[in-house]
């Protein structure tokens, strides 16, 4: 007994014991599924049997539907990242500005959507952007003599709806990150800039933005990975089947093939492609922002 106690508290064993929970969850919930996804992507799976079919799934996968899913996902990611970085920065600076009135109501107003589920928000968006003349958005448009739109039927307006929903939902959260970043910028910097006669755009460009750089990197990272994994924003508008696939994302494609149609092999193949994409984009980002290999320095 004494020996075992010594073993547990020894410097050799203890680290393994402490890291075990992570390692075990990693193996069970990530490594094992990944390996079995790789195997399944080369199989045709029906209840009770799985047959190896070589690259058959990949042959079926690479067609215009999948390309559409990829291009939708990329376009969505671009716009959502672009807006979800610039808008929250501006808002957080505004909220941080000393002469802004009604700061707390403003903060609450912007942050509130973050606690609403995307699905609930989406249902409301769906009603606002109905295609009848009497729907909320179309009735506003008609005041400006713009003809009513079929929002969920066209590729451009469909993308607009998805980006809008994501922006509505996440602006508050990202603003929170930037506000925390702003707290860390010493006031002295602004004071000395004042003495040097800098106006506010100068201060914003040369003090605020550079100081926020680590936060921006972080927000871009999580926004890109969230954009690539987008599913709900599309699902709430079209329930998985949109006209001409204007709302199809990679995750939507995996869901449709793997779960709705039961083609687990094809779904696995698409899942692997998504994994590759996220991996490549992440490595490029980390490399570009100089976060890779930092520990050795």
């Amino acid at each position: 007994m004494r020996k075992s106690v010594q073993l547990f508290s020894s410097k050799k064993v203890a680290p393994y014991v402490f890291t075990a929970p992570f390692v075990i969850t990693f193996i069970v919930f990530f490594l094992y599924p990944t390996i079995s996804t790789i195997i399944m992507s080369f199989q045709r799976i029906v209840p009770g049997e799985a047959k190896f079919v070589g690259f058959e799934n990949y042959r079926i996968l690479f067609d215009k539907t999948f390309y559409k899913a990829v291009s939708n996902t990329v376009v969505f990611t671009f716009w959502s990242v672009f807006i979800l970085v610039t808008l929250p920065i501006l808002l957080s600076v505004l909220v941080n500005y000393s002469i802004t009135k009604f700061k707390n109501p403003l903060k609450m107003f912007i942050f509130l959507p973050a606690v609403v589920s995307t699905v609930v928000g989406g249902v409301i968006f769906r009603q606002i952007f109905g295609e009848l003349d009497t729907s909320f958005m179309n009735s506003i448009l008609s005041k400006f003599s713009i003809p009513p739109q079929q929002w969920t039927m066209k590729s451009s307006t469909g993308m607009l709806l998805m980006v809008l929903l994501a922006v509505w939902r996440w602006t508050g959260v990202n603003m929170l990150y930037f506000m925390a970043g702003l707290q860390n910028i010493p006031n002295e910097l602004y004071e000395s800039a004042d003495i040097d006669g800098a106006n506010w755009p100068h201060k914003f460009l040369h003090i605020t933005l550079p100081s926020l750089q680590p936060v921006i990197v972080f927000v871009v990272l999580i926004s890109v990975s969230a954009g690539l994994k987008m599913f709900e924003e599309s699902y709430v508008f079209w329930q998985g089947s949109s006209p001409m696939n204007i709302g199809l994302t990679i995750l939507g494609y995996i869901y449709r093939e793997g779960i709705s149609f039961g083609n687990l092999g094809l779904g696995s193949a698409a899942g692997l492609i998504l994994l590759m994409m996220i991996l490549i984009v992440s490595v490029i980002q980390l490399k570009y922002f100089g976060l890779l290999g930092k520990e050795e320095q």
């Binding site: 007994m1 075992s4 106690v5 547990f8 508290s9 029906v46 209840p47 009770g48 049997e49 079926i60 067609d63 009603q127 109905g130 295609e131 009848l132 009497t134 729907s135 969920t152 039927m153 089947s241 949109s242 006209p243 001409m244 696939n245 449709r256 779960i259 709705s260 149609f261 039961g262």
Partner: protein, 450 residues
């Protein structure tokens, strides 16, 4: 001190582990014994212990029906009662859970409802459902047979139908009257288009709405003519001549004769359409009979103004309906109480009592034909109140004209492509001709099936 604490922790962990295992052992043995003891006691006192049947469904509207069926079965079989435990899950989740339970071989229920577009997913490889042919055969002749075929493979029936899903035409009487048209004069689709022209001319309203993001316009029209997406052997025939002509006909209704429009909201289940039709936006709507519930729930303004009629024919003696949609109830062959499950299904899905309940409780058109003449169909309910007509008179009229599609592998993918691309590109965007779009659809599905 530290050592003592860590020693304590380890001991506690070990004890927890061991006692956990031990209690599991206890659990698996003792209740079994006590159950059988109780069983024998009860058997001596009042018949036997009820057999527990687990069931999964995806629509809690049906709960009342199953409750009634359990009571009815137990009344008929006092010696062999059942305890039906129905669990409702959301649509996708239930089918996913079922698929996973079957794949992993654990946790599957004894009975389950499977929706028609999901059904072919389960009929591949080793079929997990019990062969129900033996209970279907004795009564097959009094049922709409095509409703068994959709849940069959290689001549064996694996699922029992919930409803017929007979497609009918709902006319708005006010609009027809305004245009001076009578629905009695509309016998063929040609008559329908002519009537549509009058409606358009007199009222300015469209006669008809075309689903561009769902299948319920194109699909029933081709089934009516004996065509389909797939033939009996599962070959793709979606681009055959008859289907191309049908799609051209739909195209002409919208863009040449201008008597129809793409459905507001894309399909007949969108909020936009409910509001549109409720306000008298168009004169006629073609949907299966189960769509009645949407009228009752979402279109109160036109209560009493709607008339249900058979769908126009394509030829002089063509069919005037088609069986659309559906849910098949299955028994899983992995069930330890399969015999009881089958006997319960025989009562709850095929008997006269059960089929009457399909109408009285659920308001669906029961697939058992002799029920259509029964007394219960004349009783008042929310549907007779809304439509103020003998709904079954329409059904009796078309009873031999209700074909159903061939549900084979690729069916779900096909419906999905029709929903997303075919109708939208041909009717709304007009980027492809009917022939082009159907050929493309056929090759897309063939790619899957190879």
């Amino acid at each position: 001190m530290k050592k003592i604490i860590s020693l304590l922790m380890v001991t506690i962990l070990l004890i927890a582990c061991i006692s956990g295992c031990a209690s599991e052992n206890n659990n698996s043995q003792v209740p079994g014994e006590s159950n059988s003891k109780q069983g024998t006691q009860q058997e001596q006192e009042n018949g036997s212990e009820p057999t527990v049947l687990k069931m999964w469904i995806f629509n809690d509207v049906n709960l009342g029906y199953w409750d009634e069926m359990e009571k009815g079965y137990n009344k008929k079989n006092p010696d062999n009662p059942i305890d039906l435990q129905v669990e409702t899950y959301p649509f996708e989740e239930m089918h996913n859970k079922l698929q996973i339970a079957i794949q992993s071989g654990a946790g599957a229920p004894d009975i389950a409802d499977v929706e028609i577009s999901k059904f072919p997913n389960f009929l591949r490889g080793d079929i997990p459902f019990a062969d129900l042919t033996s209970i279907v055969e004795p009564v097959e002749d009094v049922f709409v047979k095509s409703r068994f075929h959709i849940y069959s493979k290689d001549g064996k029936v694996y699922g029992l139908p919930l409803h017929v899903g007979a497609t009918v035409m709902f006319y708005n009487k006010d609009i027809l009257a305004e245009a001076g048209v009578s629905s009695d004069d509309i016998n063929t689709w040609h008559d329908f288009v002519e009537a549509g022209k009058k409606v358009k001319e007199k009222t300015g309203k469209p006669m008809f709405t075309i689903e561009v993001t769902d299948v319920f316009t194109f699909f029933p029209m081709i089934i009516q003519q004996g065509s389909d997406f797939f033939d009996k052997d599962g070959n793709v025939i979606v681009n055959n001549e008859s289907n191309v002509k049908t799609l051209e006909f739909i195209y002409n209704m919208v863009h040449v004769d201008k008597i129809a429009i793409p459905t507001p909201g894309g399909n007949h289940h969108s909020e936009e359409f409910y509001s549109f039709f409720n306000q008298g936006g168009s004169a006629a709507l073609m949907m299966p009979l189960w769509y009645m519930l949407r009228f009752v729930n979402y279109m109160p303004q036109i209560e009493g103004k709607i008339e249900i009629k058979p769908v126009p024919r394509w030829t002089e003696d063509g069919d005037r309906s088609a069986g659309m949609g559906g849910t098949g109830t299955v028994a899983l062959k992995s069930s330890p109480v399969l015999d009881t499950a089958m006997s319960f299904l025989e009562y709850s899905k095929l008997s006269v009592e059960a089929q009457e309940a399909v109408w009285t409780i659920l308001g669906f058109d029961p697939p058992r034909l002799d029920v259509w003449d029964s007394e219960v169909t004349r009783q008042e309910n929310q549907f007779t109140e809304y439509f103020k007509q003998d709904i079954f008179a329409v059904l009796r009229e078309v009873k031999d004209e209700i074909d159903s599609p061939n549900v084979v592998e690729g069916y779900a993918e096909m419906c999905d492509l029709v929903r997303q691309e075919l109708m939208f590109s041909v009717i709304s965007e007009q980027t492809k001709t009917p022939k082009e779009a159907l050929d493309e659809l056929a090759s897309a599905i063939n790619k899957y099936k190879q």
